[in-house]
Structure formats: C-alpha cells, structure tokens
C-alpha cells in the first residue's frame, strides 16, 4: 500500500526514519487501541507495523506524509490480522470495559466513559473515522488517505458515527452499558 501511495522508491535516511517512527509511537498506540480495544494486542499491532514500515522504508518518499503512511500500514495490518483471527465482529463488551477504564470526567454533559462504551457499538468504518479525525486530529484528506476512501465518504462516516454516539448516549444509556 505504501508504494501505491508514495510512488517511486526513494531511500529514506535511516536515522531520520527511526526518529520519525519513534515520535509516532504514542499516537499509533492510541489508534491501534481504538481499533482493537485490547492493550496488548494493540501494542503487538504497532510493533508489527513498525517492523513492516522499516522493511518497506525504501518505498517511502522523504518529505511526504509519514504519519499517514504509518497509519495506513497499521490499519492494513489490523484488518489483515482481524481477517486471520476472525474476531472483529464479536466484541466482548465486558472485557472492553475493563480495558477502557477512564476517569469519569465530563465534557459538555457527556461522560468520556459513555463515549467509550458507545464506540463499541459503532461499525468499524465509523469508529476508525472518529479515531482518525476526532482522536488523532487528522485532516479529512489524511483520513481519506489512511482509510482508502474519498473525502465525501470520510465526512459521511464521521457524521454518522458522531450522530450514532450521541443517539446511543442520549437515547438509551442502559442499552449502551448492557
């Protein structure tokens, strides 16, 4: 995927490449955790993505969007791994809640842990869009690049995901927490 996005192969400076990967570890871990909802699995995904990026670094064009490139590798690895494990449809909400313990802070009347629980109910595509844009602060263009879709689709998934979370929280919290 990386070579499809970045075009011709140009050697990246290894030291800079490692520095760039290292700087991205925190946000890669957060994205992976949001995707798979499992701390250890998420860290395994990130480490594998780092190794894959390193092995493919000749396909990265220095000066292009390294962050999006790394997120693409991680996302692709996640979905590939999920297909192999065949576990992406069925979540264990109780296990997820144990992992996703958050302080019960409040943002404009909405609890963070309510949002966390509502995220468990969202389709993968909506959840990942919320993670990329609201969580990681990506632009629509970068999120479209990472998810392999167009900007209209990004906006649509984002809006539907945001609306679904609000509906889950405001409509029936007991159902969300069940």
């Amino acid at each position: 995927m990386a070579d499809q996005i970045n075009g011709a192969a140009v050697e990246a400076d290894p030291e800079q490449f490692i520095a760039d990967i290292t700087a991205l570890i925190p946000s890669l871990r957060a994205f992976a955790r949001g995707l798979c909802r499992d701390r250890e699995y998420a860290d395994d995904l990130v480490q594998e993505a780092m190794m894959r990026a390193w092995a493919s670094r000749s396909t990265f064009i220095p000066g292009s969007n390294f962050r999006a490139w790394m997120f693409i590798i991680l996302r692709n690895h996640f979905y590939s791994s999920v297909r192999k494990r065949n576990q992406h449809v069925v979540w264990d909400p109780e296990a997820a809640e144990r992992i996703l313990v958050q302080e019960p802070t409040q943002e404009g009347g909405i609890h963070v842990d309510d949002v966390n629980r509502a995220m468990l109910k969202l389709p993968d595509q909506q959840r990942e869009m919320l993670l990329l844009i609201a969580g990681a602060g990506m632009s629509y263009e970068d999120a479209a690049m990472v998810a392999g879709c167009n900007i209209g689709t990004v906006k649509s998934r984002l809006n539907r995901g945001r609306a679904a979370i609000k509906a889950l929280i405001e409509g029936d919290v007991s159902e969300v927490t069940a």
Binding site: P26, R29, Q47, M51, E107, G108, V112, A136, K166
Partner: protein, 59 residues
C-alpha cells in the same frame, strides 16, 4: 503526543473547530492513551531496527 497542534490553521480539509462534546471526549480518550508511558519493548524494537540500517530485500 499527537501532532495535532502542528497543523497550521486554516488548512483546506481540516475539520471545523466548533466545540463538540463527543469529539472532545474522543480526543481525551485518544490523548490519554498517547500520554501513557511507552512500554520498554518498544525501545528494544527501535534499538533492534537501528542495528539493521539496510532495507530488507525479501519484502
């Protein structure tokens, strides 16, 4: 630890900045994870990668 703040203002395609409590909560969730201490095995992996500066030929 995200580079959200490095994004220049007014860039085309950047989502609107109006306050949304759901997005604020999502940002907090993401930032809380990103702010965690990175496990030591990541440092081990970085060190391991640093010892192999040439691209792999068997990808």
């Amino acid at each position: 630890m995200t580079d959200r703040n490095k994004q220049p203002p007014g860039v085309k395609g950047v989502p609107p900045m109006a306050f949304d409590p759901v997005e604020a909560a999502l940002r907090q969730i993401f930032d809380d994870v990103a702010a965690e201490d990175v496990p030591a095995d990541f440092a081990d992996l970085v060190a391991k990668l640093s010892k192999h500066p040439r691209p792999s030929k068997d990808k």
